[in-house]
Symmetry: C2
Subunit: 119 residues, 2 copies
DNA sequence: TGTTAGTATCCGTATAAGCAGATATAAAGA
DNA sequence: TCTTTATATCTGCTTATACGGATACTAACA
C-alpha cells in the first residue's frame, strides 16, 4: 500500500453517497446496481459511476451473474480503519520514512519557535 | 456527527500531504507552521492551506503562542477510524436510518435479479 | 512607530469529480 | 436475429480544490 493508495482509500469514503453504498454493502454479501438504484433512489449512471470509483480504489470487487453485475466489499481494504491501524499503516509507508528522518533531523538542531520537546 | 461531516473527515485524510501532516502530528503534541514547512519541505501557503482544511474538518485545533500558531490533532476526530467504528458510526447516523428501511422494504418485495437472501 | 518573522488569505490557473441525460455494450429470451 | 433489460461510458456543465506567488495581517522587538 502506497501513500497515494491510502489517500485514495480515504477519498473513496469521502462522498456521502459512496458512504451510503459502503454501509449497505457491509450488511449484505453483495448487491447489484439495480438494487442500489432502488434502495438509494438514485439514477443508474450515478450509482454506476460511484461503484466504479470504489472499484478503482480497491474497496469493492464485482462479478457478473447473467445480466446483473454484483458488487461486494473487499474486507481487507478497510484495514486502515481498524484500531490504531492508521498510524501503523502510515509508519509502514516507505514514503514516510523520509518524513521521520526529516523530523528527527529538524529537531536535532536548535530552533526558536517555542517548541518544547514533546511526545 | 452527520453523514456530511463523516465524509468530510475522510476527505481531509484523502490528500497525501495532509496524511503526512497528520502522521507527524500523531508523533508530537503540537507543531507550528514553520516546523511543518521545514520537515515537509513545502511552501508556506501550501502548509497553511492544508492546516486550514484539517481545521475546518475538525481534525486539528490550533492556538497562538507569540508569533507562532501551533496545531495539534483532535484525538476524538479519528474515532471513526477505530475497530469496527466506521460501521457503528454509520449505523448511528439518522440520515442512514432511511436507507435501512429502504433496504428492508426493497427486500420484502420479490425481485428477480438473482439476489439470494444474504447476510 | 518602523521592521521583521510567522502566518493567513487572495489570485489565477489547472485538474478532479459531481450530476443528468444520451448513447453504447452485453446477456437473455422471443 | 430482434428486443429488452441491466449496466457502462460519454458528454456538457458546474463546483471543489490543488498549486505557487503575491499580498495582508499580527506580534515582537528595536
Amino acid at each position: 500500500m502506497s501513500l497515494d493508495a491510502l489517500a485514495q482509500t480515504f477519498k473513496a469514503l469521502s462522498e456521502p453517497l459512496r458512504l451510503r453504498i459502503v454501509h449497505l454493502l457491509m450488511q449484505r454479501n453483495s448487491l447489484c446496481v439495480c438494487d442500489l438504484m432502488s434502495i438509494l433512489d438514485q439514477g443508474q449512471s450515478t450509482i454506476s459511476r460511484h461503484l466504479n470509483y470504489l472499484k478503482q480504489a480497491g474497496l469493492v470487487h464485482h462479478w457478473r451473474e447473467g445480466t446483473w453485475m454484483h458488487y461486494a466489499l473487499v474486507p481487507e481494504a478497510l484495514v486502515p480503519l481498524q484500531a490504531g491501524a492508521l498510524q501503523q499503516c502510515l509508519q509502514q509507508l516507505p514514503e514516510l520514512a523520509a518524513d521521520q528522518e526529516a523530523l528527527a533531523a529538524y529537531e536535532s538542531t536548535p530552533r526558536q519557535c517555542g517548541r518544547t520537546a514533546s511526545a
